[in-house]
């Protein structure tokens, strides 16, 4: 800060700032309209608490790589599961000490190298989430910390497999995280976004421009929609994605990356004619 900076800060503090006389009254009237319990954050999770006697137990700790062949078998009965990718079991992690809780259930895949690879990636990711949960729990003192991790098979066709891992970290507010894992069953390869396109294609530029266009369009259509359009420059070259039921590419963005937190995670459906020329 140079001297002029200091002078400006001093003047900003010293000179009277013209606040309208009715501002305070208007703010007060706004307070009156707020409902005590109005908290429609859809994904808000409060950790559940052990009742009475259980709370006295210092820590109830259960950490089990828990084989659930029955659950896996139930899922395997669904005809969408092919031969290359099988869910062989579910890996569970549960924790509850009456103050903080974690509930993690993710599948273990097998049947091919690609399935093993995805399984390892999912395990590494959930290990990292659990490690973070433990660190946050220790740092939080009296505060509550929560972690919920679940999974969905988004696609399982003859040619493609997509597994989505959704995590909700709770600490004060709730933070939603999603990762998507893909296997091209035709080639047996694990695929990320860059692998969809020809090596020299400017898919980052093209998809970024489309996302920027859609952000402007959505804001123009709906005044409650707010995006950080000024701060957005490009998608991540390995942005999370999936194919929707119509076969369209959907790009998935984490909370706070494109929009204020209250807007949650964002997804953009990219029309095929935007990227079809660039596909590998």
């Amino acid at each position: 800060m140079d001297r002029f900076d200091e002078e400006l800060r001093a003047r900003a503090q010293k000179e009277p700032f013209p606040v309208p006389e009715d501002l305070a009254g208007r703010v007060q009237r706004t307070f009156d309209t707020l409902e005590e319990a109005d908290l429609p954050m859809k994904r808000r999770h409060r950790p559940y608490r052990w009742a009475g006697w259980a709370a006295a137990v210092l820590a109830v700790f259960v950490a089990v790589p828990n084989a659930s062949p029955a659950a896996a078998a139930a899922l395997a009965d669904v005809p969408v599961l092919g031969t290359i990718v099988e869910i062989v079991t579910f890996r569970d992690y549960a924790y509850d000490d009456g103050q903080s809780h974690a509930a993690v259930t993710v599948p273990e895949l097998s049947g091919s190298d690609a399935a093993d690879e995805v399984s390892d990636q999912v395990q590494a990711y959930t290990d990292q989430l659990i490690e973070q949960f433990q660190a946050d729990r220790e740092a939080a003192g009296e505060g509550h910390v929560g972690l919920d991790v679940s999974s969905t098979v988004v696609t399982d066709s003859d040619t493609w497999f997509t597994l989505r891992i959704d995590a909700v970290e709770t600490q004060g507010g709730a933070m939603n995280l999603s990762r998507l894992y893909h296997i091209d069953k035709a080639t047996g390869e694990v695929v990320t976004l860059s692998g969809l396109f020809q090596a020299d294609a400017d898919y980052v530029g093209v998809l970024s421009a489309e996302v920027a266009r859609q952000m402007e369009e959505k804001m123009a259509q709906d005044s409650s929609v707010v995006y950080f359009t000024d701060g957005f420059t490009a998608i991540d070259p390995e942005q999370d994605f999936y194919w929707d039921e119509d076969g369209d590419l959907v790009l998935v963005f984490g909370e706070y990356t494109l929009a204020p937190g209250y807007m949650g995670m964002q997804e953009f459906v990219i029309p095929q004619d935007v990227y079809s020329d660039m596909l590998a």
Binding site: V27, L34, M175
Partner: protein, 168 residues
């Protein structure tokens, strides 16, 4: 993305939420005025931001970040309003921003009048930096622009203020 590990706040109850707003209402109005230039619009934006912040208060993760968090929600409301009325600036608004008439000319140009005379993109960063003492990083998050962009705008704003205030 990881969770913060310091000063985590529980979800604010209404009373605590209102206390925070009262503490920051002047800063909210000033930021809104810097973006929108018009008192009435700025008050509308503050009111809408209070409602939006209350609904979203579960996303406030650290109490000591309450002010930048509120200002970010507010800035988004302001940009929204700004976009809508971009083509419809009326004469009354233009007159309101002209740096004349309000103060005794012998006292020279007030800082706030000089700030109001800055370009659209410069007013909010300058206000948040000099009036609210926020960091470049916080301003970048509030306004949704990169840190280098904040620095550039601050530097331009500073130079224009220097010219306006020294030439008075």
């Amino acid at each position: 993305m990881t969770m913060h590990t310091t000063a985590m706040s529980p979800i604010l109850e209404k009373e605590a939420f209102c206390r925070q707003i009262l503490q920051h209402q002047d800063a909210m109005f000033r930021t809104a005025k810097a973006i929108l230039r018009n008192d009435q619009d700025a008050e509308d934006a503050v009111q809408e931001a209070i409602c939006a912040a209350y609904t979203a208060r579960a996303t406030l993760r650290e109490m000591d970040k309450c002010k930048p968090w509120l200002l970010r929600i507010l800035a988004n409301r302001c940009y929204d309003m700004y976009r809508k009325r971009k083509q419809t600036v009326d004469l009354a608004q233009v007159q309101e921003i002209l740096p004349a008439g309000e103060t005794d000319p012998t006292e020279g140009l007030a800082l706030w009048q000089a700030v109001m005379a800055l370009d659209d993109t410069l007013r909010a960063p300058v206000t948040l930096f000099y009036y609210d003492g926020l960091s470049v990083r916080e301003i970048s998050e509030i306004l949704g622009i990169s840190q280098p962009a904040v620095k550039t705008r601050l530097s331009r704003g500073r130079e224009r203020l220097r010219r306006m205030l020294r030439e008075e």
